[in-house]
């Protein structure tokens, strides 16, 4: 165990001293904070417009018919979550790839594997270090964005909101671990590091951008602005009846979406943050029941990719491909 800690400590020290890594993480943090500031300003503009509107109505002696815009503080995190979903996954790939690539490039693997360490010491140490880095990173991003929402957006957080944030941190952490483990596996098994990076990026493109986009496009609600059925003024029961004739189509769309870990992460976090309307202001228990399958999928993806990375990052594999 001491040897695993040594590898982990060295990896963290290495990341701390890497200007590129710190720049990437710093850039992400700033982008997330800016997104919350922009969302807060946007809400402020809407609130001011509403006030102007109601003042004008009151001056005309008309009772205000419109409901006031409501601020759901957690909604301000939407952009930050989308950044985590897209850029976070990319950064996780870069960090996971770098953890293995730098050992191959430096030529330190032969020194490491002539020490009396176990088959899994190196990979457990590296993954452990990256898991800590991501936990710290996600916590900082979520806390910083919420702090920004409180300061810039004058948002008030309830105890339930804090619970939702903690569950969001957990989901984001697992999501980033999945991508880290994927990159570690690919970098370990690829004979050429450039191939490893290209394969990882192509996988990222497919899973993070292409599959969710195709799935979204196949959703009738996304095919015309406002939703296909709403724009045709078709009531919900009729919509259900119509869709019953397209079960194959819907199954294909569902199968496509559930194959992407990104979609599970999005459904999970959007539900807990109330960004998805049906879960907004719902008790955590209700949300949990609704996204249990997505939470389970996230865990299964994480366990699967971590196990694969354990067995692909053994000395035999690394030394075979590090020439």
């Amino acid at each position: 165990m001491n040897k695993i800690f040594s590898v982990a400590r060295m990896e963290i020290l290495d990341i701390r001293r890497s200007k590129l890594m710190l720049s990437l993480l710093g850039f992400f943090l700033i982008a997330a904070i800016v997104s919350v500031v922009v969302a807060s300003i946007d809400f402020g503009v809407k609130a001011d417009a509403y006030k102007t509107y109601t003042d004008a109505l009151a001056a005309s002696g008309i009772t205000n018919p419109a409901t006031a815009p409501q601020l759901f503080p957690l909604h301000l995190m939407r952009a930050a979550i989308e950044y985590l979903e897209i850029l976070g996954a990319l950064f996780a790939i870069i960090l996971g790839y770098a953890a293995i690539a730098k050992e191959k490039q430096r030529g330190t693997l032969s020194l490491l594997f002539t020490r009396p360490i176990g088959n899994f010491t190196l990979v457990l140490g590296k993954l452990g270090a990256l898991a800590l880095v991501w936990l710290a990173f996600v916590s900082i991003v979520v806390l910083a964005t919420m702090l920004t929402a409180v300061i810039a957006g004058h948002a008030q957080l309830s105890a339930t909101d804090v619970g939702r944030l903690l569950l969001t941190i957990l989901g984001a952490w697992i999501y980033l671990l999945v991508w880290t483990a994927v990159a570690v596996s690919i970098a370990s098994t690829s004979k050429k590091l450039t191939t490893a990076l290209i394969v990882s990026i192509v996988l990222w493109l497919l899973v993070v951008l292409v599959i969710p986009q195709v799935g979204d496009t196949m959703d009738p609600d996304n095919q015309v602005p406002g939703g296909l059925f709403k724009s045709l003024q078709i009531a919900k029961p009729d919509e259900t009846a119509v869709l019953a004739n397209f079960t194959g189509y819907n199954s294909a769309r569902d199968a496509l979406e559930i194959s992407s870990v990104t979609k599970h992460f999005e459904r999970y976090t959007f539900a807990f943050l109330g960004i998805k309307d049906q879960y907004n202001q719902q008790p955590i228990g209700t949300v949990w029941a609704g996204v249990f399958i997505n939470a389970l999928a996230l865990w299964l993806f994480a366990i699967g990719t971590l196990v694969i990375s354990l067995f692909t990052t053994k000395p035999k594999t690394l030394l075979r491909t590090s020439k």
């Binding site: 020290l13 290495d14 330190t108 032969s110 020194l111 002539t114 360490i117």
Partner: protein, 270 residues
Amino acid sequence: MKSLYVFTEKSICRLSVLSGTRPYCDTMNEFAIVTKDLTKSYKDVVALENLNLSVRQGEIFGLLGHNGAGKTTTVNLLTTLLVPTSGTVEIEGVDSSKSAKDIRKLIGYLPENVQLYNNMTTMENLRFFANLSGLKKPEARIKEVLDYLNFNSHYNKSIGTFSKGMRQRVGIAQAILHNPSVLFLDEPTSGLDPEGVRQLRDVIIRLNADLGVTIFMNTHLLSEVTKTCSSIGILKGGKLAYQNSMNSTLAEFPDQDSLEDIYLSIETAD
């Protein structure tokens, strides 16, 4: 610095003069390294064929050969970095096929063009390798080894600022931290300037004399072999073409003026 050897019925205990190190007890083996019919193939290419090699305790052994003769493959097999296609490797009587991890406790390794963690200091690099070798509280041992190598003034400096020769010093330090009984050096003088070569040669000879470490080195530099090695082996096309002590070798070829001539005569012989 001297090592004190204590002979008992079943073992030779080498009490290192470097304080804080536990006495290292070798089982009574005449040979530190023994290979039997050691073969390594990569698909259809045989890199090493039926290598039968024996290196005595306390020797400085030089393995010579042209590029592609199988020298690095041999070192990689002996250090457990490669698994043999067939044949066996024994280091201090421990069979590598049965316990590679035990062999790694017995050996130190300095690869060609030693690469360390450039953005770390000497101390951070050495502490890392000491921890991987299972040393508890390694700081005192690291200072002692650096002192032995006259490198203490670079204790807290970043490796990235070091010359090739300085890196080699740190590389040797990491290789001897855990008090190994066999040290493998792969082309240790490669890329060093004449001063660096001389300093490294002095270190190798001192390690062998003071600590009784058996040293196995691959090299192209025949002048260095003459000055440092007590025995040599010559690999030719993946096969051991010659092995003998340095003195016997020089006596065996009285017509040749130098080791270089002897080497070339063996290399060019059918």
